[in-house]
């Protein structure tokens, strides 16, 4: 095997560990369950899964540290340094952070002075193995590691480890030979009893971790697609974990099929890229080149070293010149590249549950809560955002604008639905959709770093909140309806407390004007949301036509604060609404609360320092800053411009969030105005929101039913028309055969028989001459002779 960079090695091992875990768990788990006196009570599978993912975390962490030292990830890049860190006046606050702006060479020169690995190019990439080669075309399993990969790896493995540990407690009731599923009613009215599937859950989780890490590690878009599908199927398996519940299996199907709709666009994008560029790779290999000129990747082909897209106008419309290719005149029509971007983005829309494919995510809450926390909030759904960010260099302005609008619509729509949802997990699900919308919006606006920043912070606080809700659900014996809860903070103090941390983080609350050792007193969500709102504000100033892209996130920041605090007040504050439920309620065991506390720690501190802090700095090392395209109607904000609006945006966002919080406190904490009265006053709107803007009904009528109708048509076409034609031929054949038989029997046979009959009749009549009298015969002979003679003489006269 060719040389592979040590960071890549670490990540590859971290990636494969969960796969090994999966294989062992699924086989060993199955067989040990079938053994006589089966070992249902064993937690081995869980320990193995935790070990694998925890090991993965350690490996990723060491890779990250190695990356930090190799590439200087915590140093500000000069090209980004205009985004002057607001708090950089106090550099000694963080031991590893070096805000040594002056030490880094200026301008693009930093990128051109390549001195081997980790010199200018801050990524490593290479091949793991080849899937197929066709002439010059090659499809392979590659790796691509840059700071984003490293951070995503660390984040995913860290959160996954916490959630795995939490799941040991959450799934505990599956460790029995006779598990009772209270949500399934059999025909005779009893509840379903089945063997527990403890090991199966952890094997699925391991498979998911493997797929998710593969997706992040992928070095080409095809491999992304491969793992894209794999995380999809893991999501399917996990949502449908309670296979006996019809709602669960339907939700799983819905999730997968809706995702496939997005993947359909993804495939179209792949086809365009593949046909136009002849490669799927992101960037050229750094490993295993052996000095040869490396095959350029997509990013290098679309943009030159300065992030510029070479657009040319021709008679047939605009074209984009392909850079760095053997064929200097190679180009791709502009619209095709836009279509490719939109196609890839369609995949992101499906995976990240963006409008108009958002409907699957709330239903996906049918899965066990750790799944919702890991798959459907922190990692898999964020993969869409990750891909949009990863593929940022290929997106043209039109695509970015689409992304921004999709994000804006999504974040608003989802937030409005979250206001009226009463299922605790569904509120969080809509909140996830809304937050993903924020990230998409940020990426669409050119706020690449802000979007990913929010991705990471959101992953921590949202998984925290999901786990808290899981803790509540376990505590309340699988009750998920908030109207039946209330006052739980007394029974579940740790859960309530950590949940409050999550809520504050997502709302983006902070103490304005006060700083502690130079850092703002704010949780992670404040920093990242602040960055997004600032980007949006700058964008709206630069492109006044698209002011909506600023208003939507701003207003939604208030709505977010409202519904999140509504959730918290509903669940934890006030008096118990269902005394029986309350009485049986209990705090979760240590195995569940410790992960909550760890995640709460990260929810508070992971974004420390905001845009000057280590996290954002490290992320921004992977950023490609797109150069402005001539004739484009859109101006993307630069870091410098954004910095100018930062203060203003921060205050606005905080204000709106505070209003939302206050409103929630008044309505659900104090009870004035009474939410019930408001609900009645806006009954129509309320119903519309409860029915989720009627998307499900719309899709049902627009797609699902027509598909079934068409399917029935085709099936009956087959049976009626095609088989009909066939049967007609067969029938005609039989009829023809009958005719043939008739012809044969009556006509041909008739003639033959008639001749035979005639001959017989003649013979019969001649038999009269046969008298049997000898003397008569003699006379006949004599007469015959005489006659012959006479005839001879008559006919042949002498010559």
């Amino acid at each position: 095997m060719t040389h592979i960079d040590s960071k890549a090695w670490l990540l590859i091992i971290a990636w494969l560990l969960p796969l090994c875990g999966f294989v062992i768990e699924v086989f060993a788990g199955y067989w040990s369950h079938r053994c006589p006196g089966g070992r249902y009570k064993s937690r081995t599978a869980a320990y193995l899964a935790v070990g694998c993912i925890g090991g993965g975390f350690l490996l990723s962490l060491s890779a990250l540290i190695s990356g930090i030292s190799d590439w200087g990830l915590l140093e500000h890049q000069t090209s980004h340094s205009q985004a002057a860190p607001l708090e950089s006046d106090n550099p000694d606050a963080h031991a590893t952070a070096h805000f040594t702006v002056a030490n880094v060479p200026h301008g693009e020169d930093a990128d051109t002075g390549e001195t081997g690995h980790g010199g200018g190019q801050k990524y490593v990439s290479g091949e793991i193995y080849t899937l197929g080669t066709f002439g010059k075309l090659r499809i392979a399993i590659d790796y691509y590691v840059d700071s984003l990969t490293l951070i995503m790896f660390t984040m995913v493995t860290l959160i996954a480890t916490c959630i795995h540990v939490f799941a040991i407690g959450y799934m505990d009731d599956e460790r029995t030979e006779d598990h009772t599923d209270h949500q399934v009613h059999l025909a005779d009215g009893s509840h379903l009893h089945r063997p527990g599937r403890f090991y199966l859950f952890f094997s699925y989780m391991s498979l998911f971790c493997f797929s998710m890490l593969g997706l992040v590690l992928a070095g080409n878009i095809f491999m992304v697609f491969v793992f894209w599908e794999l995380v999809g199927i893991c999501s399917y398996l996990l949502i449908g974990f309670y296979v006996e519940r019809r709602s669960a299996s339907t939700a799983a199907n819905k999730a997968f099929i809706v995702n496939r709709v997005g993947d359909f666009g993804f495939i179209i994008g792949l086809m365009i890229l593949w046909t136009s560029f002849g490669t799927f790779g992101f960037k050229s290999y750094t490993d295993g080149n052996d000095g040869a000129h490396p095959e350029p990747g997509l990013f290098e082909m679309v943009r030159d070293d300065h992030g510029k897209v070479d657009v040319e106008k021709t008679d047939h419309g605009s074209i984009v010149r392909i850079q760095d290719h053997d064929d200097k005149s190679a180009s791709i029509p502009y619209w095709l590249l836009v279509a490719a971007g939109l196609g890839i983005f369609a995949g992101c829309v499906g995976k990240s549950a963006q409008f108009p494919l958002q409907t699957w995510l709330p239903d996906a809450m049918e899965g066990p809560t750790p799944v919702s926390a890991l798959v459907h909030s922190a990692t898999m759904v964020a993969a869409g955002v990750y891909l949009a960010a990863r593929f940022f260099p290929v997106f043209l302005p039109e695509v970015l604008l689409t992304i921004a609008y999709v994000g804006a619509i999504t974040l608003f729509v989802a937030a409005t639905i979250a206001i009226v949802a009463t299922d605790i997990k569904r509120v969080l699900a809509y909140s996830t959709i809304s937050q993903l919308g924020y990230m998409m919006l940020a990426i669409g606006l050119g706020g690449w770093g802000a979007g990913l920043f929010h991705l990471i912070t959101h992953a921590f606080f949202k998984s925290l909140m999901f786990l808290c809700s899981g803790s509540v659900i376990v505590g309340c014996h699988h009750e998920q309806e908030m109207p039946r809860m209330g006052g739980l903070r007394k029974k579940m103090p740790i859960t309530a407390c950590t949940m409050l941390i999550g809520v504050i983080a997502i709302c983006g609350l902070a103490v304005p004007g006060v700083s502690l050792w130079g850092y703002k007193i704010a949780f992670s969500g404040y920093h990242s949301k602040d960055a997004i709102v600032a980007t949006a504000m700058t964008y709206a100033h630069l492109n006044p036509a698209h002011s909506l892209l600023f208003l939507a996130p701003l207003v939604t920041a208030g709505i977010t604060a409202f519904y999140m605090f509504r959730l918290w007040f509903y669940t934890f504050a006030g008096e118990p609404r269902d005394q029986e439920l309350y009485d049986h309620c209990h705090e979760s065991p240590r195995v569940m609360t410790v992960p909550l506390m760890i995640l709460a720690f990260f929810a508070i501190f992971c974004a420390v320092g905001g845009e000057g802090g280590p996290l954002y700095t490290a992320i921004s090392h992977s950023e490609t800053i797109p150069e402005h395209i001539a004739d484009s109607a859109i101006t993307l904000p630069s870091h410098k411009q954004i910095a100018g609006y930062h203060q203003q945006a921060g205050i606005l966002a905080l204000l709106v969030a505070a209003v939302g919080t206050l409103l929630a406190w008044l309505m659900y904490g104090v009870g004035r105005p009474d939410p019930g009265i408001i609900r009645r006053q806006f009954a129509g709107t309320h119903e519309f929101l409860v029915e989720k803007w009627r998307f499900d009904e719309l899709y049902d009528a627009m797609f699902i039913r027509p598909v079934h109708v068409v399917a029935a048509w085709f099936s009956s076409f087959d049976r009626r028309v095609l088989d009909g034609v066939l049967h007609w031929f067969a029938h005609t054949g039989v009829v023809l055969a009958r005719w043939n038989r008739w012809f044969d029997e009556s006509l041909v046979d008739g003639i033959v028989n008639w001749i035979a009959v005639r001959v017989q009749a003649i013979g019969q009549s001649l038999s009269v001459v046969q008298t049997g009298r000898l003397r008569q015969y003699v006379m006949f002979i004599a007469l015959g002779v005489v006659t012959l003679f006479l005839l001879m003489f008559a006919l042949f006269p002498q010559t």
Binding site: L766, V769, Q770, G772, R773, L774, R775, V778, M779
Partner: protein
Amino acid sequence: METPLAYYLFVGAVLFVSGIVCMATKRNGIAVLMGVELVLNGANVNFVAFAHYTPLGLDGQIVSLFVIVLAAAEAAVALAIALNFYNNHQTIDVDRGDKLRG
């Protein structure tokens, strides 16, 4: 001085016609046989007479010898039939033996 051919032919014709008439008129089987012999011999006379004009000059005689031999054989068979016929029917009247009529 040669005897003209016509004389021979005349004798042959007389023999032939006699034979035919004998066959046609006699009801006695033996007599019919005798008629047959006459017819054959009438033919023999003709063969011998014509043989004079053949290159070898003996062809007719040879054919006649064959005919005589055949006639003898035929007579033997016919007499055997007549004997059997008599044994079955107590007569040799050919008009009584019309079992072969169609």
